[in-house]
Amino acid sequence: MSTLASPKTGARRRPFSGPFNWRRAIALTLLALAVAVSILPFYWVLRTALSTNGSLAANSANLLPADFNLGAFKRVFGLQSASEAIAEGGSGASINFWQYLWNSLLFSGITTACAVFFSSMAAYAFSRLRWKGRDAVFSLFLATMLVPPIFTALPNFLLIKNLGLLNSMLGLVLPYLFMTPFAIFFMRQFFLNMSREVEEAAMLDGAKHWRIFFQIVMPNAAAPIATLALLTFMGQWNEYFWPLLVGTSEESRVLTVGLGVFKSQSPQGAPDWSGLMAATLVSATPVLILFAIFGKRIVNSIGFNGTK
């Protein structure tokens, strides 16, 4: 996200007026290059989605769609029959798009709501309550951020399996449900900076921790909560490995996994690239929309936390 932060040193100058400045030209070129490099993959996804499969291989170096065609999107939304799809050089495979989309929304929504809520409570305990060994416990907590998720994947899988929760939404969300160390750390940083006076005033009025948390701390933390929620949601939306292990039934398969499966048809057969890219594009859209609406807020709140 470094490209988003603009340096604010020196007086504000309009970039395209005044005498020619080599430094500025170089900076602008680099910036343009960085933007191009980050946008190009998205463009390539779109270009492939709008192409016809049979023409893709021969036109791999062409920037424009090869044989412009909307069939891939029709395939994604199930508007095309298998024989039509095959005639277009796609695969007859269908992707159960709406079901997977719903699963992805459920998976990301539930985990986000719960993780943010429980992490905020934990962060409150770590920042506003005084108890013996608090900082030691917190350090231990932070240390768990250093454990790569792959280490816990197998034990978690066995646990979920033994609970009989494989192929269920509950099994899918359970490991993410209560907290993540990052979320606690993130919220704690914010809570630490909240003024004590309001809280003390509330206590004098007889409010207990429960009430302070819900009526004072949480409302005041709306901005960071929104940020955390968005970050968590995006992370969950893109999660692949755990849903791949646990959610293999149609009822519990999320979009990322669905797309991965869609990729392989017959052994050695080439994937239906345009269908795959169209589905990828459509599945990325909810997150892109969320980011377009809340993106500025994220940047602001991260900046806010970082400068203190």
Binding site: A58, C114, V261
Partner: protein, 450 residues
């Protein structure tokens, strides 16, 4: 957000699920000849044909409907295995020779002998040998053949013409493990470097190749070189196992195989074939479609893929004749099997018999995707391909000339693949000579020593 009550609900749900899981599984069988049965397959290209079959079937048997689910190859087998363990496998599914021994071991398939006798299924209608492949070590039959495939060479006709190679020459190539014969000459001739120099010309730059003579999809140790090298090794008289099916001794230590593999790996070293590491994550067929390779050896199920590339005129040539003066192709056949846990066994048997009948296989033939197992139906498929302007003689010739050999069927298939793949990859990558396969072979044979 989750409140206390909801959390309680979650805990209850978890406990309930736990209790349920404890008493599931177990009982199987039952024999209703009505209701909905589930059928799984992996090849999306065949989906329309089988949807047609299912509709026709229901018309003839109004009490039974068939729900078809297609799942990509990578996911297909794990879903079936998981389904068998958790009691949610399909009633009927497309089965593969390399996978079904594992299912037999765990008793997951229904033996079809009684039904075949009772309903007088004519096993002679299938292409020779196909039906026998599905008889297990216990002598019982576990599948009815649905289709077969052989190997041929897909080549880029324009590249061949540019190189001065006629279709007749492409159709009469010969090969030997010492100098590669006219097959290697054609591959070298079709290889072009960035400066336009051909592989058989002086000054050929093997490190900057624009078009490879032969494409490489990987070492394919999993399926005993089905599409990559078995059509070569078999012409030396080599066989994968001591007997087939149900061999218990592998022959990867045989010099005949090792010479073949050494020759094959040398193509990459000479710059005629891509290096293994450059093919990881890439698709060989797409590279062919992009004009980066002139010849690809591949199976008949890929005809649709190869002829589907726009702007490329694809020729199909038979595999080269080997030292024994003959061509060779692995012969692989799929079948439909019934899961032992089905609750609708009678309906499932009816459906499998229909899938194995000329009625359904003619429908499959008419779509020109694969060759059905029934001889008369596969002739119809050849005609359907012809109607699409695709000459498939290179594939059917193997069956007519009886130059096929069966895909090796053994126990421990996945363990064998686990040992052979890294060993074969190392040879192909030029990291070890083919003689290193001897050590891998010992490990493989040790699996059967118990």
């Amino acid at each position: 957000m989750m409140n206390k009550k909801a959390f309680g609900a979650v805990a209850v749900a978890a406990a309930a699920a736990l209790a349920l899981s404890a008493c599931s599984g177990g009982s199987a069988g039952g024999d209703t000849a009505k209701g909905e049965i589930s059928y799984w397959l992996w090849d999306a290209n065949q989906l329309p044909a089988y949807q047609q079959c299912a509709a026709d079937f229901t018309k003839a048997n109004p009490d039974i409907t068939v729900k078809i689910t297609q799942t990509g190859w990578d996911d297909y087998w794990s879903k079936i295995t998981n389904g068998m363990a958790s009691g949610t496998a399909p009633d009927v599914f497309t089965d593969h020779l390399s996978k079904y021994p594992d299912f037999l071991k765990t008793k997951q398939l229904v033996a079809l002998d009684d039904a075949v006798t009772k309903d007088k299924v004519d096993l002679a209608q299938y292409n020779e040998g196909l039906a026998d492949l599905w008889v297990g070590q216990d002598g019982k039959r576990y599948g009815l053949p649905k289709d077969w495939d052989t190997i041929a060479l897909f080549y880029n006709q324009k590249m061949a013409t540019d190189a001065g190679i006629t279709p007749e020459q492409m159709g009469s190539l010969s090969w030997n493990p010492q100098d590669g014969g006219s097959y290697e000459k054609a591959i070298a001739r079709l290889t072009v470097d960035k400066n336009g120099k051909r592989g058989d010309e002086a000054g050929f730059d093997k490190n900057n190749v624009a078009v490879y003579g032969l494409g490489l999809p990987g070492s394919d140790a999993e399926n005993a070189g089905q599409t990559q090298w078995s059509y070569l090794s078999a012409t030396t008289g080599w066989t994968t196992t001591d007997k087939n099916p149900w061999g218990t001794h592998f022959n990867y230590d045989d010099k005949k195989l090792q010479e073949t593999i050494d020759w094959w790996a040398s193509l990459a070293a000479k710059g005629y074939m891509p290096k293994l590491e450059t093919t990881v994550g890439a698709n060989a067929a797409d590279s062919f479609g992009a004009g980066k390779a002139a010849i690809n050896s591949n199976g008949s199920w890929m005809i649709g893929q190869y002829t589907g590339y726009k702007g490329i005129n694809v020729g199909i040539a038979p595999t080269p004749q080997g030292p024994d003066g003959k061509r060779a192709s692995m012969f692989n056949g799929l079948a439909d099997s019934i899961w032992a846990g089905t609750k609708k066994k009678d309906a499932a048997i009816k459906w499998v018999e229909y899938l194995g009948s000329a009625a359904c296989q003619d429908v499959v033939a008419s779509k020109a995707v694969v060759f059905p197992a029934i001889s008369t139906s596969s002739e119809k498929a050849a005609d359907a391909f012809k109607a699409k302007n695709v000459d498939v003689t290179a594939f059917t010739q193997h069956v007519k000339d009886k130059t096929t050999f069966m895909l090796p069927i053994t126990d421990n298939a996945s363990k064998v693949a686990g040992i052979m793949k890294p060993a074969m990859d190392a040879v192909l990558a030029g990291k070890s000579p083919a003689s290193s396969l001897t050590a891998a072979n010992e490990q493989v044979n040790a699996l059967f020593a118990k």
